[in-house]
């Protein structure tokens, strides 16, 4: 079973690589959006808060799009039926898929981040801090987005509206992300611990709720 679990992870990794084109397109759009943002505010002195807030909001939307796309493709009815009958529980499959989406996005962010920071006129000395903080917050964003996606892809259109209920869960991440921009120095800033704690909280209930919603609403 463990051997096949690692095989499943390897196969999911292959699938993730195949789906990288969509991530690439999303990050190209992010660069365009950042360029427009920087150009439109070129005469204003913004400091770091506004560009970082913009970056966080854009990454938030990219994550939502990516998770939604992967879930609608990977959890269509026929695939979901096989996952449900798999000896691996659906929660584990959801967890593996979420981690692969995370890995995919974070790899792209690490590659694109120097360019994004230059475009947004943020000091490159903050590159590592921003990467670490974003990679921590992205974990929670992906797991909450998976709950949203599992409801929105349901066959029942009336119920898909209830995915709005998960949106408040993103608010703490965005609030703390903005607060972090005030104290960007990673050595004195302990706010990243919030992201770790929030991720652990999400890890406890998100795969359960996601797989429950998939089973009940999509089969």
């Amino acid at each position: 079973m463990i051997k096949n679990f690692f095989k499943l992870i390897a196969n999911e990794f292959k699938l993730m690589l195949k789906g990288s084109v969509f991530s690439f397109v999303l990050f190209c759009l992010l660069i365009i959006a950042c360029s427009i943002f920087s150009l439109s505010l070129r005469n204003e002195s913004m400091g770091m808060n506004a560009p970082l807030s913009f970056l966080y909001i854009m990454i938030f939307f990219i994550s939502l799009f990516k998770v939604e796309k992967i879930y609608s493709l990977d959890f269509d009815e026929a695939k979901l039926q096989q996952y449900i009958l798999s000896p691996f529980s659906l929660e584990i499959i959801v967890f593996v898929k979420n981690m692969m989406i995370y890995l995919n996005l974070i790899i792209f962010f690490v590659i694109f981040s120097p360019l994004i920071l230059i475009i947004l006129n943020i000091d490159l000395s903050y590159l590592i801090q921003i990467n670490i903080l974003l990679s921590l917050s992205l974990l929670s964003i992906i797991f909450i987005a998976s709950m949203t996606a599992s409801i929105t892809i349901s066959k029942n259109n009336k119920l898909s509206l209830t995915s709005i209920l998960t949106l408040p869960l993103f608010v703490p991440i965005l609030i703390f992300s903005m607060a972090i921009t005030d104290v960007i120095d990673f050595n004195t800033n302990k706010m990243y611990l919030f992201f770790v704690a929030y991720f652990l909280l999400n890890l406890a209930f998100s795969p359960l709720l996601t797989s429950f919603a998939l089973k009940k609403l999509s089969v």
């Binding site: 079973m1 051997k3 096949n4 095989k7 499943l8 196969n11 292959k14 699938l15 195949k18 789906g19 269509d76 009815e77 026929a78 695939k79 039926q81 096989q82 996952y83 449900i84 009958l85 798999s86 000896p87 691996f88 499959i93 089973k215 089969v219």
Partner: protein, 200 residues
């Protein structure tokens, strides 16, 4: 043995079927037939525990079917394809066998593929396959995943007569090994003895 007692199912306010009763013992095949929309696929979904019935119960060897029993004992092949378009045939086989926790010998895998597909390039992308070939990939799980109960929704659709004969051979072997097969189909099955459930 699978036993279905007084099974009813409703979707919203619409009653799909009422008071379905049947028993299937090891070594038996049940053909579920009926017009479009009478609930053949829904009945199979009920048996595999994808959906819960309105009334009645379904047992496997005397125990109510839950997710654990379904994943341990049932192999379900639905009418829609579950493979990934972006993966090759080979990658799809590897992927779905790992999902079903199957360790296989490469030679067994190749023999099974040859049995169903004859000469076929396994490095072809799934979307490049014909409808019948896509269906055969699903049915390949029948050979490679060893579970006592097969539940198949329209397994013959898109298959040529030669492939249908091969599938019937698989059915015969499964029944000889005391497996249980439930098939929902409009076609009759070319086997000597099987039970039929006509839904109206």
């Amino acid at each position: 043995m699978i036993e279905v007692n007084n099974l009813s199912f409703a979707r919203g306010n619409i009653l799909i079927y009422k008071d379905i009763n049947f028993k299937i013992s090891p070594g038996e095949l049940l053909l579920v037939s009926g017009a479009n929309g009478v609930g053949k696929t829904t009945l199979l979904s009920n048996i595999v525990n994808f959906t819960e019935p309105l009334e009645g119960n379904i047992t496997y060897h005397g125990t109510s079917i839950d997710n654990h029993i379904a994943s341990e004992c049932f192999l379900y092949i639905g009418e829609n394809n579950f493979a990934y378009d972006t993966l090759t045939l080979n990658q799809n086989i590897d992927y779905w066998l790992s999902v079903h926790n199957v360790n296989f010998d490469k030679s067994i895998k190749n023999k099974s593929v040859n049995f169903l597909f004859q000469e076929l390039n396994l490095d072809k992308k799934f979307y490049q396959l014909s409808f019948g070939q896509k269906k055969k990939l699903q049915l390949l799980l029948l050979i490679l995943v060893n579970k006592p109960v097969w539940i198949l929704d329209d397994p013959y659709s898109g298959l040529d007569t030669r492939s249908i004969t091969k599938i019937n051979t698989l059915f015969k072997k499964k029944l000889e090994n005391k497996g249980i097969i439930i098939v929902a189909s409009h076609q009759k099955i070319n086997l000597r003895n099987y039970k039929t459930l006509q839904l109206t």
